[in-house]
Each structure stands twice: as C-alpha cells, then as structure tokens.
Symmetry: C2
Subunit: 487 residues, 2 copies
C-alpha cells in the first residue's frame, strides 16, 4: 500500500492500480444515466460521506474513484455544456500521469532538470504564438486566468507606482486605479483587493450589447481619472469574456493605455484558444502589443486543470517578482549555469503543468488543435441557429467563440422577473434530474438582472444533433416548470 | 489522437496511452544511472530542445515521457534528498489520474458535484487533525504553503486593519507589520509584497541556534512596534522550517499574538506531517490556537504536487474573500441548496486535489501514514549519527523532523569562505555526474553566509545503508574538489 510511483519499481506498482482506476471510471460512469448524477446536492453529499466513512484499505481507490466518476459533471458528455470546463484529451491526461509519478517541482532546477528546460522552451513557443519576440518575452505556467490576471496587475502596480512597492508597500498619497470593462472577469476586482488597492480601484468601462468594451468610453474614463489626479496603472482588455466570448478592441486599448502610461493586460484566458485557428486568430489582432497576457489551455486547449499561462512582452518587467532563496537559487549555482524559474511564479512548489501541453502540441500540432477550436465554434453557430428556430427560446447574440446565451420564454405575456425565476428553476430541474448541465448568468449593462441560460461548447465530439437534443431538454424543463407554476 | 479521457469511451482510449507512459517511464528511468541525468543544465536543455523539435504525431507521448523520466531528479531514488520534494505514493498517483480524466473544477458545484462534497468532508477531517472544531473551521486545498501563507496574511490584513480593505485598499496612515522568525519561509516576505504592505513590513524575529523563534525576542519586537505606533497585524509561527525543521514555540506565540491583537498564522507546511505520528504530534502542541494554518501533503504526505491545505479556526474570518459571480454561485441556486466553494479560494478553476489525499488517507489510514513519518524521522536520526561519525563532516544540529544540515570540512586548517565555496562546488559536482541530489543552504543569524549541505529525508523506503552510501558520495566529491583546488 505504500509503494512509490517513481523509481525503477514505479511502473510495476502503478500498473495494477491504473487498471483499477480505469475499471472504476467505467463503472461509475455507467451508473450515471446522464452528464451528472440525479439528486440534490445534499443527497450526493450523503453518498460521499457514506463512501468516505465506509472505506478502508486496499478497496479505497476503486470505491472512491467509482464515486468520483458517478458524482462527476462530466464535460465529455454532450449534455454537459455550462462552463469553460473542457473535456480533457486522453493524450494530455496520460501525459499528466507521468508528471504525477515523477513529481518534478519547477521551483528549482535540481527538482526538475528536464522539466525546467521544457517549460522554458514551451513559454518561448507560446510567446511566439501571441506574437511576442520570444527572445525578449518571459512567462510561466499558472493555475489559471485568475492567477495570471493577478500577476499582470501586480507587475503593473509595481512598474507604474512611484517607489519600490515590493519593498515599501503602496506609497502614500497615490490613488491608483485599473480600467476594465464591465464584463471583465471578476478576478480583476479580486486581484485589486488582494494587491491592497481595493476593489473600488477598478473602474468598470461600459460595454456594447455584445459586451465589448467601448473604446470611446475607455478614453473618456482615462481622461476623467487623470483629471481627478488618479494614476491609471492598468487597462485590462478581455479577449473572450466568459459569457459571450466578446473580444475587446485590442488595438484601441493598446493605443489608449500607451497614451496614458498605463500597463495593458490582455485577459485571453478563454479567447487565447482562437490563436490556434487560422480562421479565428485575426479576432485577437493587437494582442502582441499587450504588456502581459493570460492564456488558459484548460479552456480552449483540452488540458486537464490546471494549464494556465502568464506571459510578459518584456522579461525585465518581471523584476519585482525576483527572489533569492539560499536553498533554491544561490548565486554561485546561478553563475555556474543552473537556471531557476523561482522568480517567474507566485508559487514555490509547482507541478510541471507544461508537460501535458507540450505533449499535446507535439501530438496534434497547432493545426490539429485549431481544427478542434473551429469545430466548437461551428457547433456554437449551429446551436445559435437552433435557438433562433425555436419559438420558446430567445437568443441573446450571435456567438463570437463557442458560447451562446439565450432565455426560455413561455408563450404568452410574462413578467420579466417571473421569466428570470423560471429560467433559474428549469436549470436546477435539469441538474436535479441528472439530464443536463447548462449555464446561467446575468449580464452587466442593458438588461442587467435578467437571468440568461448559457451553453459553453467545448466538446469537439458533440454533434449538432446532440446540441439539438440538449436544447429540447431545456425547452421540456421550461414547459414543466412553467406548467407547475401555472398549476 | 483527439480522443477524450472522459465519458463512456474514456477508459478505453486511456488504456493503451497509459501503457505507453508506463513503458516510457521505465525506459527513461533505466537510461539514468542515478537520481538525475549526468550533464550540465545546458546539455540537458539541448536534449529537451532536440526532443521537442524532432517529435510530431503519435510518437510524442512516448518520446517526451521517456525524456521527462530520463531528465528527472527522481525523489524515489535514495540519492535524491535535497528538498521538501517527496516521492509520491503509487496509490495517490493513480487517484490523481481519475482527477485528470474527469476534470472536476471546484469553483462551482455543477462542475464537481461529488468532488465538492469530498473536499468539504476532507477539510473537516483535517481541521479535526489540527485540533480545530470542524463545525466552526473552514478551509480549502491550495497549490502549497506559499499560497496558504498568502491567504493567512491576507485575512489577517483584512481583519486587523481599519476599514474595508478589500473594497477601499489599505487605509492611509496605518503602518501594518508582520512578525515572523528570521528562519520563516521567504513566502512571508513575498506575500507582504503582493498584499501591498511591502517586504519591509515583515519584522524578522531572532532565532536560536536550531532556528526556533525566541519568545522573548517576539515579545520585545511586539512591544517595540506597538510603541512605535505600528499595527502588528500578524504573527507567523513556523512549525517545521525548511532547513532545520525547527518548530517555533506555538503556545507562547499564541499568547503573545492574543495579547497584542495580532492574527496568528502557523506555517506547518512541512511540520504538519508530524500530526500523523503519535510520537511527533506533541511537537505541534498549541497549533489549534492559530487563527490559520498551512499544511502541505506534497511534503510529509507523499502526494504528487499540489496538495496544499489552508485552514482557519473560525469560518467567519473568511469574509473578505467571499465573492458572488452570477455565472458561478447565483443567490437563488445557493438558496436552493447548491453549495459553492468559490469564496474559499484565491483561484477560480481549481483541480480536485482533495481526491488523491482522501484516497491515500482511506488506504493507509492516519496510522499508516504516521508510520512513514516515523520511518523518515528515524532515518534522519541515523543519518545524523553517520555524519557525526565521519571526521570530514560537521553536523549542524540534531534533526527535529526529517532534515539534517552539515558541512564538508577538509582535513587541516581552512578558511571558512573557502569551505563555503568547496561545499557549493561538491554539490554541483554530484549534480553534474548524476550521482546525488543533496541540498545546500545558508542560515540566518549566527554563522550567516556559511554554506551548509542538507539532506531532506522523505523516502520511507530508503535504508540506513543507502543514506550511508549517499554520505560517502558527498565525502568523495568533497575530496575530489578539494584535491583539484589544491592541485
């Protein structure tokens, strides 16, 4: 039971355990009849509690894996389409096993000789994909867009405020602010809180109906904060908002950030996947002008979480994160040619998440991954057409990437607040019966507070017919809830 | 090549790919004759570059996995003993595969129904292990001690400063500070920088020879900062310093933090493993009085990275991290009983790292894991005895947990700076020849700047004989380097 995964004996010990896992995954998945287990959260928690309390010894791996599979919201099921939560490729998952077994840690070379070189090479490759000069750029694998956005805003703060913020803290008297669209990810606010600036330092720039930041509004806000004596340290442009996939005007944002001396961070956690597709990549024109970029390959990249990436255009802007730890990167080792990635990351121990992505890129190539992106984009367009064709569904706007927003609307006149409630209820009915996982959201700006349903299509094996069936499930649940409310 | 890991077809697609990985792990490991590949970092980087550029298509998984295994510093090899970098258990590694395949994400229930319940149950179990009341405590899985320490200090800042820091930023006029021992982990300084307080907000409390924080010095520093009108927002006590495993006096720290109104964070990232052992657990008496705690099961817990845990004694102190995102945790879903872990974490997308730990705890039990902790502790004691018996090695101090520090000292009189250089060189010689991975460090306080070698013994299968052989490698390399310098 205490056999190790590494060393000469590792593969031999792992073999039978992996067979157990595969059998249990199969059994647990078969017990579910849909994308998630039927039942309330309390019922599923009770099952888990029973599994945990009743299991000891060698049987635990099989029993708990079966429970995890049974109790999953499996993104590989065509009816699981709520979030930026992709079904991982088998090849990426297999590569991730090698990482678990060898357990390299990226915080020092002598914990990860090959993995250090591999991450360095991958970062250069991704910098080139963004349009950066790989010889001048730098970056790191992260836990996701939230960490990447935090890093971009931290470097912006440390570069743009007077003094040595990393040593002395935020200087007194300055009133820094960050400009981001009203549809930017909530991690922008969260980062401002963490960084000691406060959430109110984030100024929400109005968006158009598709949730794109308006360049005129950005210019107006930048002028306003400057007149008010505030320091606009950063502009955050989103390339692919979570809900509509909207891509802010990147060139205009770069022009304006440059004019006002602000750092430009592009949050391409979702939309960065478009860089893999010849057809969609032009949507991100201008991204190479950003000071920093977030990319997430556990979204449009089919990696198991986590596979976030943070990039900066100029390696020297990383300066405030550089650290010396005598047990990790002493000067004499560095002079002797031992490289260290410690100063690239907010973390210390760090799993080699670069490996699965490198294997995937080498197996499918950019072209192969680009085809998967295109397939999901086409699926979203087909889904939008199906929504438009269904009288009880109301499309919000044409898909930009792979999401679409819509609303179930029962026939006849209805109070909008009642329709909001109905949409929330029908979604929960689908969850409770285990038949579908669809998203729900509310948008900023016009129509704020309106509950909208969302499909996030990230499964390239899903067919147009399966999306149609999923929409029929939504309509059926809507009718059922509306009928119960009326009855 | 684009087969998915999940769904009904997942196990069938994974099977042959996992067999490929196991074969490649075996082949890559066999090509190495020691714990890491011989050669300079540049030579290994060239091999990786060649592997990446020459590989396309189906062969990539095998070729790159073999390269990763060949180029690993494998913690399962008895001669790899530098860092808090443990060899993972096969059962934990197999459990982690299930997580990669199903890809639950802990930021919303509808991405992780069973995994949400499982993490919640595990956190309660770990809270009890620390001595917290599980009904009042809260916590989350993290990427490691660095993130956990950041969370503790963020909550301390938000609780202890006037105003609503998360909304308005750090109030003007206050001069917050954090007290931590001079041997505390560098992530305390790094967190202060990130949080907008600046590294200089961290006051280094002097330590004794074994690197334990002196309670008298802590009291003196607390009094001093208070007289100076500063706000001591937090005391950080370390339970297991990286280098010596020293455990600060926790009860005294709790008394003093309480008296001065400071938050007490206990960084037990390393020493938390002692809680698994009946014999060693008393070393951590007082930990239950901490406001927050860091634990890392990828150190003394034999999990593949990451398996960090952050705990707070009182769930309500988490308040400044609570967030509402309409697409993740809308009010009506929450009222309908759908729980959300979003406000528990600094991250959004989050891998289900709780699963492998739950499986491990159920397979081996606390007792089984405690035996592994005891074994490593005994190995460290035996290693210390062997160092003491070898005239050319100089022991720093008796091991507390599973590390020991020592210094190679050539016979005859020697200039200390030359001995420093020699120890750095001999370590690099061991790395370059691929024969051993030993640590090196420099300590604060008395003897600062002295280079010391370190063994971190985390492999419970390593024998006393193998540790002896490792020490003979060190002595041999020392003689070789000393000879070359003399010659």
């Amino acid at each position: 039971m205490d056999a190790l995964a590494g060393g000469a004996g590792g593969p031999g010990s792992l073999g039978p355990l992996l067979a157990t896992v595969l059998d249990a995954l199969e059994a647990g998945t078969a017990l579910r009849s849909g994308p998630l287990p039927a039942g309330s959260p309390a019922e599923i928690a009770a099952l888990v509690a029973e599994g945990l309390s009743g299991t000891r010894g060698r049987g635990a791996l099989a029993r708990l894996t079966e429970l995890l599979a049974y109790g999953a919201a499996d993104p590989a099921d065509p009816a699981c389409a709520a979030h930026l939560h992709c079904p991982p490729l088998a090849v990426a998952t297999a590569a991730d096993l090698a990482v678990s077994a060898l357990n390299p840690s990226q915080d020092s070379w002598d914990q990860a000789p090959a993995a250090t070189a591999l991450e360095t090479a991958l970062i250069a490759e991704l910098a080139a994909l963004v349009g950066y000069d790989p010889a001048r750029a730098a970056g790191v694998l992260t836990s996701g867009g939230t960490e990447s956005n935090l890093m971009g805003l931290m470097l912006a703060r440390d570069q743009k405020l007077d003094g040595i913020v990393e040593l002395d803290g935020i200087p007194a008297g300055v009133r820094p602010c960050i400009l981001a669209s009203a549809a930017a990810h909530f991690s922008v606010q969260r980062s401002a809180a963490l960084l000691g600036l406060g959430e109110r330092a984030v100024i929400a720039v109005p968006v158009d109906r598709q949730l794109r930041m308006s360049p005129e509004e950005l210019e107006r806000e930048l002028a306003e904060v400057s007149w008010a004596g505030r320091t606009p340290i950063a502009v955050v442009a989103t390339a692919g908002t979570t809900d509509t996939g909207a891509i802010d005007p990147l060139d205009a944002a770069a022009d304006l950030a440059g004019r006002y001396g602000a750092w430009l961070h592009v949050d391409a956690a979702y939309g960065g996947g478009a860089l893999l597709s010849d057809r969609l990549a032009p949507l991100l024109d201008g991204i190479a002008r950003a000071d920093s970029v977030s990319l997430d390959w556990h979204k449009l990249g089919w990696q198991p979480a986590a596979a976030g990436v943070f990039l900066v255009r100029r390696a020297e802007t990383y300066v405030s994160l550089a650290r010396r730890a005598e047990y990790l990167n002493p000067v004499d080792d560095e002079q002797a040619g031992y490289p260290s990635l410690l100063g690239r990351s907010l973390r210390t121990t760090r799993r080699a998440d670069a490996f699965k992505l490198a294997v995937t890129l080498r197996t499918l190539g950019r072209e192969g991954l680009g085809r998967l992106v295109d397939t999901c984009h086409e699926l979203a367009l087909a889904a939008a057409a199906a929504v438009r064709a269904e009288p009880s569904l109301e499309l919000h706007s044409e898909p930009v990437l792979t999401t679409l927003l819509f609303r179930y609307r029962p026939p006849g006149p209805a109070d909008e607040a009642a329709v909001d409630e109905l949409n929330g209820q029908l979604r929960r009915l689908l969850l409770r019966t285990g038949r579908a996982v669809v998203g729900r959201t509310e948008l900023p700006g016009e129509g704020a507070g309106r509950v909208r349903l969302k499909l996030t299509l990230l499964n390239p094996h899903t067919t147009v017919g399966e999306v149609g069936a999923l929409l029929r499930e939504v309509v059926g649940a809507g009718r059922k809830v509306a009928g119960e409310r009326a009855g």
